[in-house]
Symmetry: C2
Subunit: 211 residues, 2 copies
DNA sequence: ACCTGAACACCGTTCAAGT
DNA sequence: ACCTGAACACCGTTCAAGT
């Protein structure tokens, strides 16, 4: 073992005084701003420090490297999406398979669309980010909520949930990601909203029996 | 207009003498080698030039920048995948919807799996690569072959193909990409092979009527 | 405990000089 | 027509000195 793969991505120190708490917040805020304005490829630690109003030395006091900075921003965003999905799952629990499916797709899409720019920027940085840990955690979080939802469906019983649930999770996140990365406009997003529901529902029905 | 977005990614000059044709080939070969050995993030133009046995100056005589180098490698790989998919489409034409779907999924997966390492490496560089043009071309190439296949199905007639065909294309490429990027092992790939067929077929059947 | 910024290392890219 | 490699610019990261 000897430490997780991504020890080097963790924040370097935990701020103990008020001043430094604000410093850290200023740095992550600035990171998002620079990300949106300049894009992932042209994001510079110097830019971030300047925009945050601190020196580069200070930035590196809290984040061991550029990757850790972006990792922190990604973590925030995923936490938001994960919480939104879990809340959505609770809302739709116990309804019919069709209702659950449509509601779940709509809510996930809405959460991503509400932060379209940042979603797009973050997707673009994923590869450089060594974010396998975060993505895995997110995947199992969504799968757990999904599994619970499927069990709760009032009209259908899912067969082989251990295979079907991961596939549906991948369908949901993969199609939304692809559409956003392909620069899909309003019409592509509208199509995704209806067709993705239809797709997920057709597969789920084919994989379940009457309850 | 004033030139395509990615003029700066095109090769800088076309080699006119034998010597330089070999030079270009050596450079792209070396790029793949370095990509596989060091990974996308640590790929260095110096490394590539050294491995190709030329100076950096020579490298920059044929490729205007690092991006163009990777762009060329990606283009080669996509060309191979595209051709494989079109050949597969021809083979399955005229069969039943279920046979077409299964054959298509299996063939696409096989083509990607046969070059798993390079596929993985290339997926990781996509964002940095400004490869929207290549991806769009690839998407419509696959969609055209898919549309032809759907029309040829002996037992079913697809409704709203203008919506359904792009969704199936995205399903196919998106799920394979997600599985590969998530470092899926043999068992995840086997699951993908069967479940992705089931998913696509369930959606296609729900979107078609008897022929 | 926190902050600063000059200095270092590394890498992408150019260009004057060569064959 | 093609090749070379020293030189330049830029950016991530460190660390000795400060409050």
């Amino acid at each position: 073992m000897a430490g997780s793969v991504s020890d080097h991505l963790k924040p370097r120190k935990t701020p103990r005084q008020q001043r430094s708490v604000m410093t850290v917040r200023a740095i992550t805020e600035a990171t998002i701003q620079v990300l949106l304005v300049r894009g992932a490829a042209r994001l510079t630690t110097t830019d971030v420090a300047q925009r945050a109003g601190v020196s580069i030395g200070t930035l590196y006091q809290y984040f061991p490297n550029k990757g850790a900075l972006l990792h922190a921003v990604l973590e925030q965003h995923l936490e938001m999406i994960g919480a939104a999905f879990e809340a959505s799952a609770k809302r739709h629990r116990g309804r019919t398979l069709a209702e659950i499916t449509e509601g779940m797709v709509a809510d996930y899409l809405d959460a991503k669309i509400a932060n379209l720019d940042i979603s797009r920027a973050l997707y673009r940085m994923l590869p450089d980010l060594d974010a396998g840990d975060l993505q895995k955690a997110m995947a199992s979080r969504i799968e757990q909520a999904l599994g619970m939802l499927m069990e709760s469906a009032s009209d259908k019983l899912l067969e082989r949930p251990e295979d079907v649930v991961p596939m549906v999770r991948m369908l949901l996140t993969g199609m939304v990601r692809a559409t956003i990365e392909e620069q899909g406009g309003p019409s592509e997003i509208a199509r995704l909203r209806s067709e993705l529901s239809a797709m997920a529902l057709a597969y789920l029905q084919a994989s379940s029996v009457a309850a």
